[in-house]
């Protein structure tokens, strides 16, 4: 149950350009940069941060945020990015852009920057249609196909990708209608496929089917379907509004030209035949087969396609690419790099939560190299609210509110935010709704295939990131969102990325790993909210759950009894440490077994909130009586400062 503070654990030899820290942890060579401009282009907002060397250490010099402009009316991601950089120039007095170009390297007068890196999530997820390869297209997928699809979904859990299993109708239907045209079934199925708008196809077979290869009937149907889908995509390329252009804009072609990437994981001896049968509209790529014990080949293939099909298709990407010092990284990948680094470098079990506007990531990394990434590519705090409402439903969302809300008011709120995703919560009621929806977004990410918090015995560090958490007006609100969803057991540290920089630090490490480390440790990029003690076990509400004694380093002592079902906060400031002794009730466990008392092996750290005792039980169960539940929610918020 002991935890280490970052102050204690972080070696102090991380000078700029050295090979220690994140570089060593990630195996990335270090490089000397006096200044690094890092951008995170999200689907709604673009965040930029300027890191520079001050007295031999990297510091966060300034940050700014502006709306992302990938879509109309601007249709160029660099417009919003430049606006954010101009804001940085205003704050710092340092010129970084000249005639629409990034000034690089840093000039002798202090203008310009040495490196510019970008994390991107603006393009949305890569939709992959996994084609069922068993015969009988007019029937639904069989059990083998469904199992294989679940494995595929697990393989891409850490990527902005969405795999959907589809069954194609028999090819004969494309010519079975009157006058040799398609029949109605074919037309309807193709309409559904166009609506899915896949940007890649996955052709996979399991077991014996792999030896036999994909039947010509399937490849024939797929070849015909690709023609339909590709012509649609050329009319609606990933640049929205391309068919709604103003006169001055480039006219998109109306003719099918683009090739659809097809990931083929079958036997290599069938590759050539497949390529021939699918014709010129398919770009077939052989990949190793994937299985529950070997997910990496598919993960790598889909991740690479996401970069090619989605990131590079973002309007303005090519101009942006000309400015960058390193290839761009998907924000989820960048964030997961940071979480893995924290786990390895500090020897801790770490969970990182990033609630974005359209996607939510929960990255779990263990001290022994365990890594369980989970990205819900469609559930987020703005554009992704529809998915939350559909999947969680009114009752689950409303359970987090201290007021009654009708289903129609909730639907109205969700739809308003989907239609106008930049809207900020104006009233406290709207803010509470946003936080309730964010909780359910995290739960949905945790339900993704492969996301298992229980894999790790305990969590040492919980890191919250993303707009909803970072911009929560009170730290207690962010802390409660993390505790309500992650529900740690035993002792953990709560950390909040208050400057929205964490998702960029992984990509910063690709040009200068030391900068990422020092920005993390020097500038409260990760703001320590406090240490949380979470006893678990069963007791009646209001019964004593835990006695604890806090021995402050200055000799003060404090003892407290905490009731089951409550949260308590004990003052322990950000720079304070204390020794902690826990005396759980007979049925309550603090990590050493029911009723076993425990004393921390090392001093625990304080934080902005302090020492939090979360004695609400695990799993957290909210009272069924709505009036009592609302009273409890209000009480917990008041205690923790939310």
């Amino acid at each position: 149950m002991s935890i280490q503070s970052s102050e204690q654990a972080l070696p102090r030899h991380t000078a700029p350009g050295s090979q220690s820290g994140l570089g060593a942890a990630l195996g990335v060579p270090g490089a000397v940069s006096r200044s690094i401009l890092a951008a995170d282009c999200g689907s709604i907002f673009t965040k930029v941060a300027l890191l520079g060397v001050v007295e031999g250490q990297y510091r966060l010099l300034a940050r700014a945020e502006m709306p992302t402009t990938a879509f109309p009316p601007y249709r160029d991601i660099t417009v919003g990015l430049l606006q954010a950089i101009y804001e940085l120039e205003r704050i710092t007095g340092r010129k970084m852009v000249n005639r629409g170009q990034i000034i690089t390297p840093e000039q002798s007068d202090g203008d310009g920057i040495d490196s510019f890196v970008v994390a991107l999530s603006a393009g949305g997820p890569l939709t992959v249609a996994m084609v069922g390869t068993s015969p009988g297209g007019d029937r639904g997928p069989n059990k083998d196909e469904q199992a294989l699809a679940e494995t595929a979904q697990q393989a891409v859990a850490g990527v902005y990708a969405d795999i959907q299993l589809v069954k194609l109708p028999a090819a004969e239907r494309a010519a079975a209608g009157p006058n040799g045209g398609p029949d109605l079934h074919w037309l309807l199925q193709m309409e559904q496929l166009r609506r899915l708008n896949p940007r890649a196809i996955l052709l996979a077979e399991s077991g014996a089917a792999r030896e036999q290869g994909i039947s010509p009937a399937i490849t024939h149907a797929l070849a015909l379907a690709l023609k339909e889908v590709l012509s649609e995509q050329n009319e609606h390329p990933n640049i929205p509004g391309a068919t709604f252009t103003q006169a001055t804009a480039k006219i998109p072609t109306l003719h099918p030209m683009e090739r659809m990437p097809v990931i083929y994981t079958g036997h290599p001896r069938h590759y050539e035949r497949l390529r021939r049968e699918l014709g010129p509209q398919a770009d077939v790529r052989q990949s190793e087969p994937f299985a529950p014990h070997n997910l990496r080949p598919l993960s790598v293939a889909v991740s690479s396609l996401h970069e090619r099909q989605i990131l590079s298709a973002i309007p303005g990407y090519h101009r942006l690419n000309g400015w960058m010092s390193a290839p761009p990284m998907a924000t989820a990948t960048s964030f997961s790099s940071l979480i893995r680094f924290l786990a390895q470098h500090y020897g801790m079990n770490v969970v990182g939560i990033d609630v974005g506007a359209s996607a939510t990531s929960v990255m779990v990394a263990g001290e022994h190299g365990e890594f369980l990434p989970s990205v819900h590519a469609s559930a987020g705090a703005a554009s992704g609210l529809g998915e939350i409402l559909r999947s969680a439903g009114h009752k689950r969302i409303a359970r987090w509110l201290t007021f009654d809300i009708s289903e129609s008011e909730l639907r109205q709120y969700v739809l308003d935010k989907m239609i106008q995703p930049r809207l900020l919560p104006y009233t406290e009621r709207e803010l509470e709704l946003e936080h309730a929806l964010a909780r359910e977004a995290i739960f949905l990410a945790l339900q993704q295939p492969g996301a298992e918090l229980g894999t790790l015995p305990h969590l040492d560090l919980i890191l919250g990131a993303g707009g909803v958490l970072a911009h929560a007006p009170r730290y207690g609100q962010a802390a409660l969102m993390m505790l309500d969803t992650i529900q740690p057991r035993s002792v953990s540290s709560l950390v909040l990325d208050t400057v929205a920089l964490a998702p960029q630090l992984g990509v910063v490490a690709t040009v200068d790993p030391v900068a990422a480390v020092q920005a993390t440790e020097n500038d409260a990029v990760l703001q320590r909210l406090g240490t949380v003690v979470s006893p678990f076990g069963k007791a009646e509400d209001g019964e004593p759950a835990l006695k604890l004694q806090v021995d402050y380093m200055d000799g003060r002592k404090k003892t407290m009894e905490v009731s089951y079902g409550s949260i308590e906060v004990i003052p322990l400031a950000a720079n304070e440490q204390a020794m902690l002794t826990l005396f759980p009730a007979r049925t309550i466990d603090v990590g050493l077994g029911p009723g076993e008392q425990a004393r921390a092996g090392e001093a625990i750290e304080g934080g902005i909130i302090g020492l939090i005792i979360d004695a609400r039980g695990r799993p957290l169960s909210l009272p069924s009586d709505s009036a009592y539940r609302r009273a409890k929610l209000a009480q917990w918020r008041q205690t923790i400062g939310g």
């Binding site: 009157p178 609506r195 929205p240 709604f244 109306l254 969700v414 739809l415 930049r422 406290e428 709207e430």
Partner: protein, 308 residues
């Protein structure tokens, strides 16, 4: 920022739009050719001769596409015809439905006071409702074979019942159930709920009663695709040149998108260098706005939409 062309209403702009065919068809026009809004430009018959598939949804039947725009043909293929024309534009926040062409008919506010069934509606028109659309009026319009409806807003529940689908799924681009009773294409200028139509929008629509227009309900907020009404302007029309700058700056006329002043219009009279605290406690970039009714308020720029 919610409107692809910058502002919700633009009195005159040159646009290019594709009249798409759901299935390959035959274009009846050539590149460079001048077309009128009601002129046939393509013919489609995906299932062969008309009536050969009696159970097929209407969209798979034989169709003749009309131009919808006055202008010249840029490109014509079996998949669509691209036309450039000079138009007045009304963009909405949300809509549903395919492109349709029709004559604009404007309902009076008085007409909304009588039972919907008693309102005489013409077949094939695009109807402008100067307020909130009710389910009863929508169904009456559908029965009257009105092809398009423009209204300020509609209650979420009523719209979902009328469409027979979950709007969140529709906006997310998920497969939605087929509606056995096809409805007119819809455009809501102010979104969902109960909001009056902005006076500038209504004024422009009234100005064009009787004109031919092209209406699209296509909406995808993730890509900022919005529904739009394009009203072809006569060649001699010379509306003021508009540069639709969406930035919220001093002097901008804005409409409030949520909170206690939702729907109100005002003018930005001061911008703040630093983020301001909202009633929710969130700190955000904000401006000081004088609303039309005289009240002044500090409002976050992300909750404002520039309208002119």
């Amino acid at each position: 920022m919610n409107y692809p062309l910058g502002w919700p209403v633009i009195p005159g702009i040159t646009v290019r739009r594709e009249r798409r065919m759901d299935r390959p068809g035959a274009a009846l026009v050539q590149p460079g050719q001048q077309v009128q809004p009601d002129e046939p430009i393509a013919h489609i018959n995906p299932l062969g001769t008309a009536g050969s598939a009696p159970f097929a949804p209407a969209r798979f039947g034989a169709q003749t596409l009309r131009a919808g725009l006055r202008g010249h043909v840029i490109e014509a293929t079996p998949r669509g015809v691209l036309i450039e024309g000079f138009v007045a534009v009304v963009q909405g926040l949300i809509g549903v439905g395919e492109q349709v062409v029709g004559e604009l008919n404007i309902l009076s506010k008085e007409a909304l006071k009588v039972p919907p069934d008693m309102i005489p509606l013409a077949r094939g028109v695009i109807l402008v409702v100067p307020g909130v659309l009710t389910r009863a009026l929508l169904e009456h319009a559908s029965r009257s074979e009105v092809v398009g409806l423009i209204a300020s807003s509609m209650a979420v529940e009523e719209l979902e019942v009328a469409l027979g689908l979950d709007l969140t799924a529709l906006l997310d681009g998920l497969p939605v159930p087929e509606n056995p009773r096809p409805l007119p294409t819809l455009l809501f200028t102010e979104g969902l709920g109960d909001h009056p139509m902005a006076s500038s929008t209504l004024a422009l629509l009234r100005q064009h009663g009787g004109d031919y227009a092209l209406l699209s309900g296509d909406t995808n907020p993730r890509r900022n695709r919005r529904p739009e009404l394009l009203i072809s302007l006569p060649p001699e029309a010379q509306p003021p040149a508009v540069k639709a700058d969406p930035r919220i700056i001093n002097g901008a006329i804005v409409r409030v998108s949520n909170g206690e002043y939702v729907g109100e219009i005002g003018q930005v009279i001061q911008t703040f260098q630093r983020p301001q605290c909202l009633p929710s406690g969130i700190h955000a970039p904000a401006v000081f706005v004088r609303l039309e009714r005289g009240v002044k308020a500090t409002l976050p720029i992300y909750n404002l939409e520039r309208i002119s």
